[in-house]
């Protein structure tokens, strides 16, 4: 039991020691340098097996990668314990000045995650004269620059030759490249008047010039070693005051040196599985435009279907997929129009195919969509472009005579290439085939309501007019009802002054409505006098007095009504 425990403890200790030594660091050959200097970024993997051979630097905005990835391994035994160090490095040239942050890089190796520390570097605009003395750099050397290290079979790429010189270069020559095994040589260009720039490497100032470029299209897959290319460089002898890249025929004594560009290795990848019949070898990024010269033509008259591809890629290394136009057309081999040129690292421009179509019969012809598939190295997949071919209307000679017009408006042209809209899935409202839509009573509904409203308003208006016209007689008829209602509205709770007011108003109104004069009834005078007397002291009146007055009024009204 104790023995087993000891073994476990030993194992844990050994594992901890092993893990303790594992780390990844990121460093730069310099932390303070100028825009013209080339620096090295180094990733060190200590005691890590299966360390990566390349790193995604994510520094495209701040640095240009001019070399790498370079990898090296180092094993050592110290006191019976083995240590290993793997490094991956890149040569970089800064693109902008200032304080640049090198981010933390994360590496996931065998389910373990290692992070490097982020750090900053200072890049100055001027040349920093710093001599590290680490390495004795040659006065003149060549480097090759490739955009990436992996290309697809059939994908165009360019190898650039950079000359680094601390000497006065007068001229350079090399043998042209016309054939290369495993490649199609698209172009080899010796740049006779290159643009130069200054760069400091390990404290030594160099003039850098792109002196040649080689554009290739790989035809075979696998790891390929790019050919060694030798250049003969004519250098001005020391002591003569001439500038770099001077006219060599100006009587300057020179010495020639042969310089060989370093060996470079690239990986040529196989394209993914079969993409379909519309793929004919195009690799790059493209857009397609399809058009017909004339959408309305006479029979046996020619028109041209134009298919234009724009973009960048291996222009010139693919054909256009075959198109079917049916038996009613005589179709000639497409005429290819190229308008592209080499720009940067790729061919950029347009490639167009013109199909001449001659219809033999009138009719309206709708062609299949034109499909074109290319492989996109950026997306690492096939992309199929679909171009809709506008419908072509062919008319006979007889039909086009007279009033018939062959011109189509842009809207008509647009419609010719469109299809009808789809079916309605259900009926929302049905009606009898014999019914007229205007016979539907629902649509007239609000007219009926309006008529009813108008009738109502008319009746009300008539009533008002009638009442105005017969106001006297109406009041005469209603006088009794009105006065009784008013007198009944008062009770013992009503204030005496209000009570008096109501009695007086109601009674006087009754007399007025009935057109009764004071002298028609002698009893009236007494009642009116009583009312006048009460008016002077309404607050001192008792409810008994007022009820008495009310009764007198009612008795009088009854009497008058009887008459």
């Amino acid at each position: 039991m104790v023995k087993r425990l000891n073994i476990i403890i030993l194992f844990v200790l050994a594992a901890t020691t092993l893990l303790w030594g594992q780390k990844v660091t990121c460093s730069m050959s310099k932390t303070n340098f100028s825009m013209q200097e080339e620096v090295k970024i180094i990733f060190t993997f200590e005691d890590i097996r299966n360390a990566p051979r390349a790193v995604d630097l994510k520094l495209h905005d701040t640095f240009s990668i001019v070399g790498g990835p370079y990898s090296s391994s180092n094993y050592s035994w110290v006191n019976g314990k083995s240590t290993s160090t793997n490094t991956v490095s890149y040569d970089l040239i800064p693109l902008k000045s200032g304080k640049i942050k090198i981010p933390s890089y994360e590496f996931k190796i065998k389910n373990k995650v290692y992070n490097t520390d982020a750090f900053s570097v200072k890049i100055s605009k001027d040349i920093v004269s710093e001599n590290t003395g680490e390495e004795d750099m040659p006065n003149i050397f060549l480097r090759t620059v490739l955009k990436k290290k992996e290309y697809y079979q059939g994908e165009c790429f360019t190898l650039e030759y950079l000359l680094f010189t601390a000497e006065n270069v007068v001229n350079y020559t090399t043998n042209p490249v016309s054939t290369l095994e495993g490649f199609i040589v698209d172009e080899f260009e010796l740049n006779s008047s290159p643009v130069t720039s200054k760069r400091i490497i390990n404290g030594k100032e160099y003039l850098v010039a792109s002196i040649a470029s080689l554009t290739l299209t790989p035809t075979e897959i696998g790891q390929v070693i790019l050919p060694v290319k030798a250049f003969r460089i004519s250098l001005k002898k020391r002591g003569q005051s001439r500038t770099v890249f001077d006219d060599p025929f100006f009587g300057v004594s020179t010495k020639d040196v042969n310089i060989v560009a370093p060996i470079d290795t690239i990986q040529i990848l196989q394209l993914p599985d079969y993409a379909g019949p519309s793929f004919s070898g195009a690799i790059g990024e493209f857009t397609m435009n399809v058009s017909i010269d004339s959408l309305l033509i006479l029979e046996n008259q020619a028109t041209a279907l134009n298919v234009e591809l724009s973009g960048h890629g291996n222009m010139g290394h693919f054909t256009f997929p075959g198109q079917e136009f049916g038996n009613n057309f005589e179709v000639f081999e497409p005429k290819v129009k190229d308008n592209y040129k080499f720009k940067g690292y790729d061919y950029v421009g347009k490639r167009a195919w013109e199909y001449v179509l001659i219809p033999s019969r009138p009719g309206i012809y709708k062609f299949d969509d034109i499909l074109f598939t290319f492989f996109s190295p950026k997306k690492k997949q096939y992309v199929t472009l679909r171009g809709e071919v506008p419908a072509l209307k062919v008319v006979s000679h007889n039909e086009i005579e007279g009033d018939y017009d062959s011109k189509l408006t842009p809207e008509e042209v647009r419609l010719l290439s469109k299809d009808i809209r789809f079916l309605q899935m259900q009926e929302k409202y049905t009606r009898s085939i014999d019914d007229h839509p205007l016979e539907n009573k629902k649509i007239w509904m609000f007219f009926y309501f309006s008529a009813l409203l108008l009738v109502a308003m008319f009746v009300l208006e008539l009533n008002t007019i009638y009442r105005k016209k017969h106001m006297g007689s109406i009041r005469y008829r209603n006088a009794f009802k009105t006065v009784i209602a008013q007198l009944q509205s008062i009770d013992d709770e009503t204030e005496s002054s209000i009570m008096l007011d109501v009695i007086q108003t109601a009674f006087m109104q009754y007399l007025q409505d009935k057109k009764i004069r004071q002298f028609d009834y002698p009893e009236l005078e007494d009642i009116i006098k009583t009312m006048e007397t009460y008016k002077y002291a309404p607050g001192s009146l008792s409810h008994a007095q007022l009820n008495d007055l009310k009764d007198q009024c009612l008795t009088m009204i009854e009497k008058m009504e009887e008459v």
Binding site: I420, E427, R431, F446
Partner: protein
């Protein structure tokens, strides 16, 4: 008591029958759509024609018939049924769109003289006017205006009454009502007594007289729309093509739009 129950049962039975008929129609309509989707256009046409012969119609039915004929390659019948659908629902976008597409496939194409854009706009608007809908809207506007007027008259003197709002409602409703009435009247009178037909055959001759031995005045092709002026015993039709060309055509070569 038993009579009452019998009456209720009869009513329920009638309602169920009506529902069953509607359900049957809906199912058949969907069968027509399915046949179309399966590219069996002949069957789709037969199903839709069967529904039409039952006596009930809708713009959707005519529209689908038009689509099925179009797919079958019968441009004349396609245009005829889309035009029929347009008679029922003149403002339906789908019908107008399909008719525009079909128009581009016509062989006979007459370019009309250009007219002032405002007139063109009005003519297009008039063509899309659904008179029944317009009548309904005019009715609503009239009712609203009268209601506002009534409020104004009987409650306008009230201090709290929104007099300005009521006056605005009356003016706006009446103004719109008048404009819509004018447009609807114009559209209605324009369509009244109009009788159109579509050429159903590939090529037809238009004669100077209702006689095949008379002079051929001009030729029309499938899908062309003509105005029918008069008929002779359903054998011959006197037609106008864009008003300026008049002649006689055999009735069997035409498909009438308005029934």
């Amino acid at each position: 008591m038993s009579k009452k129950y019998l009456l209720i049962l009869l009513l329920l039975f009638s309602l169920c029958s009506l529902y069953a008929v509607n359900l049957q129609r809906e199912t058949t309509f969907k069968e027509g759509v399915s046949a179309f989707a399966a590219e069996d256009y002949e069957r789709s046409i037969n199903i839709f024609l069967g529904l039409m012969n039952e006596g009930e119609i809708s713009w959707e039915l005519y529209y689908n018939l038009g689509n099925a004929y179009y797919r079958k390659g019968e441009l004349g019948n396609a245009i005829r049924y889309w035009e029929k659908a347009k008679v029922i629902s003149p403002s339906q976008e789908d019908i107008i769109y399909n008719l525009n597409i079909a128009e581009q496939r016509l062989i006979d194409k007459v370019v009309l003289p250009k007219i002032f854009p405002l007139f063109k706009w009005y003519r297009d608007l008039r063509a899309r006017v659904d008179v029944a809908k317009f009548i309904f809207i005019i009715g609503v506007l009239l009712f609203v205006a009268l209601l506002a007027l009534a409020f104004l008259k009987y409650y306008g003197k009230n201090a709290k009454a929104p007099r300005k709002l009521l006056i605005t409602i009356v003016i706006v409703s009446l103004s719109f009502g008048v404009i819509l009435t004018a447009v609807a009247l114009d559209a209605g009178s324009n369509r009244k007594d109009q009788h159109h037909a579509i050429v159903l055959e590939n090529t037809v001759n238009i004669y100077s007289e209702p006689d095949e031995s008379s002079t051929i005045l001009f030729i029309l092709h499938e899908g062309s729309k003509v105005k029918v002026n008069k008929k002779i015993e359903d054998i011959w039709m006197n037609i106008s093509y864009f008003d300026d060309k008049i002649g006689w055509i055999k009735s069997e070569t035409l498909g009438e739009i308005e029934e």
